[in-house]
């Protein structure tokens, strides 16, 4: 693990001068947020892959999840690891960068170059908790400004999993004419009580860390690494399934023949979790974690349509492919079914696939053959309907 100082410097580099494209909108192009605040200036950091065709009809917007970022299909500048959706995005992959122009932007409230709590506001001070609360709709509004900026009127596809899937649903509801096809994966039209509860645990873990410093840790030159690490550990357990943990770790001991009768990480699963916590703090900002979880908690698409989800999709011409995973207990298949029922009631064209896997919620990020085949089949058919080669 990098030293605290080195980690902080790398982070600050990616926050203020990211290794991505960056657009900063003129201050009269405000982001009007659900909280009532108008944010300006808005900066968006984003990656693109492939070429936009002459008709501007082959753009795919990929939306990232809670702890994701714009580095969907390239080596990550902080971790050196492959892109987070390398299994689906790239040359010859289902989201084929030889055919499509793929865009992925860091969401508003994020920490890799888009305006968020670690950014500096107009007065030159770090936002911290003065950053307005961000909603999924705010993220989508900001993305629509980026898509406008790139000269794209209608997206061929909007795709994403988990919080990314929430953005997909919000895009389809807010801008139906701009979304030819949509792939919401392992997601829900509203965040459940249990999921809000798990998020609150993570937030309290961060805020309990004295190095969080009331949210002003950048000014304090500290980092709430322990709190953020605990938050990540708690969340990470929910991304896996009981079966996956049993298959991967069971009760196996870590590099020892017998229990040590201590609080050392005797079990492999403990050692794994501690590693997940430690490595997360190298690439993520604690306040961004607060904002991202809050955005998900607040998400309840039906609430904007009189409590009737079908109204969000009434008369839509977008084609949908909804995907869930059998062992995902964070966003169970019942959440996806609720989306499918609403889409059916709204008269939409929908494919729904529940994929059998023991990998839990994390499955949407993994090389699951049925996920690869499903996305490829859906996008190939949508591409033919769109007249893409």
């Amino acid at each position: 693990m990098a030293s605290l100082a080195a980690t902080r410097i790398d982070h600050q580099r990616e926050t203020h001068t990211p290794t991505s494209f960056v657009v900063t909108f003129p201050t009269d192009q405000l982001l009007r947020m659900d909280s009532g605040v108008a944010l300006a200036p808005l900066t968006i950091a984003y990656q693109t892959y492939g070429q936009l065709n002459a008709a501007h009809s082959n753009a795919v917007l990929v939306c990232h999840a809670l702890t994701g970022d714009q580095h969907v299909a390239n080596v990550h500048p902080l971790t050196g690891k492959p892109g987070w959706w390398d299994v689906l995005v790239g040359p010859g992959k289902p989201i084929d960068t030889d055919r499509y122009f793929v865009i992925c932007s860091n969401v508003v409230g994020g920490c890799l170059g888009t305006t968020g709590p670690a950014s500096r506001g107009p007065d030159g001070r770090t936002y911290g908790l003065d950053m307005p609360i961000v909603t999924i709709r705010d993220m989508v509004r900001a993305q629509s400004m980026l898509v406008d900026h790139l000269g794209i009127d209608s997206l061929f596809c909007v795709a994403g999993g988990s919080m990314g899937g929430m953005q997909v649903l919000q895009w389809a509801a807010l801008f139906p004419q701009r979304v030819f096809s949509a792939m919401p994966i392992a997601t829900a039209a509203r965040h459940s009580s249990q999921n809000i509860a798990f998020h609150e645990v993570g937030r309290q873990a961060i805020m309990a860390d004295p190095d969080w410093c009331g949210g002003r840790y950048i000014d304090c030159e500290t980092r709430p690494e322990k709190g953020l690490s605990v938050a990540r550990m708690a969340a990470h357990v929910t991304y896996l399934s009981d079966q996956a943990l049993h298959a991967k770790f069971g009760r196996k001991l870590q590099d020892r023949a017998a229990p040590t009768f201590s609080f050392d990480a005797d079990f492999q699963v403990e050692s794994y979790l501690r590693y997940q916590g430690r490595s997360f703090v190298e690439r993520f900002d604690a306040n961004s974690y607060l904002y991202m979880t809050r955005a998900m908690d607040y998400f309840d698409l039906a609430a904007d349509y009189g409590g009737v989800l079908a109204k969000a999709f009434k008369g839509t011409s977008t084609r949908f492919c909804v995907v869930s995973f059998t062992s995902d207990w964070l966003f169970p298949t019942s959440d996806s079914r609720a989306i499918v029922h609403a889409l059916n009631a709204g008269g939409a064209s929908v494919s729904f696939v529940e994929i059998e896997t023991d990998k839990g919620h994390d499955a949407f990020l993994l090389d699951i053959p049925d996920l690869v085949a499903t996305s490829r089949g859906f996008l190939d058919a949508a591409g033919r309907a769109r007249g893409l080669g």
Copy 2:
């Protein structure tokens, strides 16, 4: 919430001079622990209810869960709340204190009067992390010393849920001749990888709190309240079910008509969880939490019998009543079925009831009519077989 100082003083009173019966064994009556350490002197704090009959044949030992204590059927000296198993234990209740002599002791490693990390060792210093690691078998060995001390050879019943259920299984395996009947409820013969993972999150939350002070917070005159509170919050979510949380809270807001666009506890479930965390620290010791969770993690009854659980119960004459709850995802019915299969293979007399409820793991503590009826029926039949009036 009581002030920090007042809470600390109340705690210390219950640790050192509890409002319970207390037995301290002579130093030559050692507790030989699985870690290899011999603990002396051993003090056990316990409650009893009802009268031991002349034949000493009507004693019921109730084993408490992770955050439980000996106050099973009386008002709690710290919280002022009813006993934790008031629904099952008392006059006319299934564990009928008019018929049975009920014993409940604080487990070794606990914090309400039995020797644990908050107790003072022979040198007068608080144990802290110098307390040896405690196993479920150590808890049971200590309980057997108490039962000997009370002049009881054979217990009419040993009953408990969750970690209490682990002790029930361990009693039946270790002292089959001393257990006439056994009620392991919402438990498992070994702790799962997922459950170890959740426990590790809680431990890391405590240890991340600078007021934990390397485990010596009593000497430091601090208390790791924030860390313990986060640990409790994380655990508490796992005690409930998604359905129960949805039914109880859904996405309802707390005393407000609209979201505040802040990190306040907007949702009722957040407010509820924060309260659970705050109130827990009033009655529990952080190091005890570490020891209790570790004891559960280490529990793997089959491992002591060549990996074959049935061997733990071979030829037993104990009658068993195994109970699980449909919505308990921490100790799912599959864990109870594994116990039942082993008991069947061992030739034991077993009743097994899976109770339909949406209350999750917490169900074992609640007034669930099927639980009350099942325990009453089982104990009444066992009582007749034992010749109790």
